[in-house]
Amino acid sequence: MIPLLDLSGLTRRYAGLVAVDGVDMQVMAGGVHAVIGPNGAGKTTLFNLVSGLVPPSAGRIRFVGQDVTGLAADRRAALGLARTFQNIRVFAAMTVLENVLTGLHARLAVGLPGVVLRLPRFRAEERRAVARARAALDLVGLADKAGQRAQALSYGDQRRLEIARAMAPEPPLVLLDEPAAGMNPAETEALATLVRRLSEFGATVLLVEHDMGFVMDISDTVTVLNFGKRIYEGTPQAVRQEPAVIEAYLGHKVAARLAAGAKAGVRGAG
């Protein structure tokens, strides 16, 4: 089976630092794939590389079987690669509905002449777009707020709006950049339900997240980055027990002490 997203040797260097260092990673269609790692592990840079905001220093990115390494971000979006941002980036002065309609921009086929001449095709298309946008708002539970200005929404609702905006074109892959950041436990729980629904909706989810409970709860596969390198990949259960991962998070000494403690515990029990 061809992976939906296939990164090979992906590298990004900044002056004096390698943010992403030769990462190989495959995201298969279906399910939820999480990328975790300590602060500065290169997760956000990885997302920016995949969505096309930052050009790689080396390596290749293939999406739906096509090499997209040299494509601009808007072309990747048109191929069906959607994303949200860690620091919310809704279009504040627009209404909620307009925000989601903007997410459908690449799906609108009518060009300048159709717009200026107001061809019937253009009107029909706008109507279809509104229907799709409303469906996306339904999915995230914002249907009743479609006419509000985006800046008037609560923090949690703005995060939902970003997800609706990304999901409106029904993309095969959606990147969620720390979707649970700044949310309280109840909101996080609701978000977990929503993310699972996204994959039922037909989208594969790739997410970066700090909230370990959230990640372990909803992910099918977890990739762990440290200092820009992929150090482990597996199921949430496997990741939890992997010494290399524990060491990356807690440092060498603590990990060693934990391991020693665990052994002592076993001996005591036996």
Binding site: S51, M94, E98, L101, H105, A106
Partner: protein
């Protein structure tokens, strides 16, 4: 035409022309600001349109019906040359490069014989008419209005708010920025051709730094919520020195102060109306 209107037009002919032409210039600023860019090349594009069209009329003897559409060619070539590299970078580079372009073209007009040096070009036949000027202005406002109301207008507003987010949503930001700059060069080039063919004389100092900034003040006074707003801004700033004695001496100071006040206190301009497009109606 009724006699009084004829009289009025005769007396205020130059003002009538200036209002229409400045309206076109305000629109040429509007189209770039509408995608979140700042070009200060409008006066330079206007000068290129004016000089190239005057030369086509004077040296080649082309009919005005051919000169008018051809007057957009040279401004568009310059827009491509300057916009090509700068639109990939942060917005300030476009502003810097276009200011520089205006300064350099002024030096070129002054130093090259073909352009008549400091004397400029004179004896240009007065071929443009008020109905032509206002017809083009009306068409431009209508076209920009329809675009602004459509999904393209929505994408342009998204670019203005957050270019990166718009790009990730699939808005082809580079293509739109280049398109806006070319549209700006076209409108300014037409304005230059029209102004050359109503005033019979053009000179190198009409397209420098001061007019470039003045055109910005039109758009900032009116705001860029709709394409009509910058045109109204241009009309206010064109009429004010005519109506109030004493203002004409400090016209440029006033234009500068208006830019400062508009940026600091009125970021949406005087006419801060949002375009009515599908999905834009706000509920309480």
């Amino acid at each position: 035409m009724p006699a009084w209107l004829d009289d009025f037009l005769w007396t205020y002919q130059n003002l009538v022309y200036a209002l229409g032409i400045n309206g076109l210039l305000a629109l040429s600023m509007y189209v770039v600001l509408a995608v979140g860019q700042l070009s200060l090349g409008q006066a330079a594009f206007m000068g290129l349109g004016a000089y190239s069209s005057a030369l086509m009329t004077l040296k080649l003897g082309l009919p005005f019906a051919a000169v008018l559409p051809l007057s957009v060619v040279v401004p568009m070539v310059f827009a491509l040359a300057v916009g090509g590299p700068t639109l990939r970078l942060a917005g300030v580079y476009l502003a810097i490069a276009t200011i520089g372009m205006g300064e350099v073209l002024r030096a070129v007009y002054l130093n090259v014989d073909l352009f008549g040096g400091a004397l400029g070009l004179s004896g240009i036949p007065e071929r443009a008419t008020a109905p032509l000027i206002y017809g083009l202005l009306g068409l431009a406002v209508l076209a920009l209005w329809l675009i602004g109301r459509s999904g393209i207008g929505r994408a342009m507003e998204a670019m203005r708010e957050d270019e990166t987010a718009a790009e990730v949503m699939g808005v082809p930001v580079r293509r739109y920025k280049m398109g806006a700059l070319l549209a700006s060069a076209t409108l300014a080039g037409l304005a230059g051709c029209l102004s050359a063919h109503v005033s019979s004389f053009i000179g190198p100092n009409e397209y420098g730094f001061e007019p470039a900034v003045t055109i910005l003040s039109y758009a900032l006074l009116g705001g860029i919520g709709t394409p009509l707003a910058p045109v109204v801004g241009a009309w206010v700033l064109t009429l004010l020195p005519e109506l109030l004695r004493g203002v004409s001496d400090i016209r440029l100071v006033l234009n500068g102060v208006i830019i400062v006040l508009a940026v600091l206190f009125l970021p949406n301009g005087l006419l801060a109306v949002r375009m009515k497009r599908i999905g834009a109606r706000t509920a309480a």
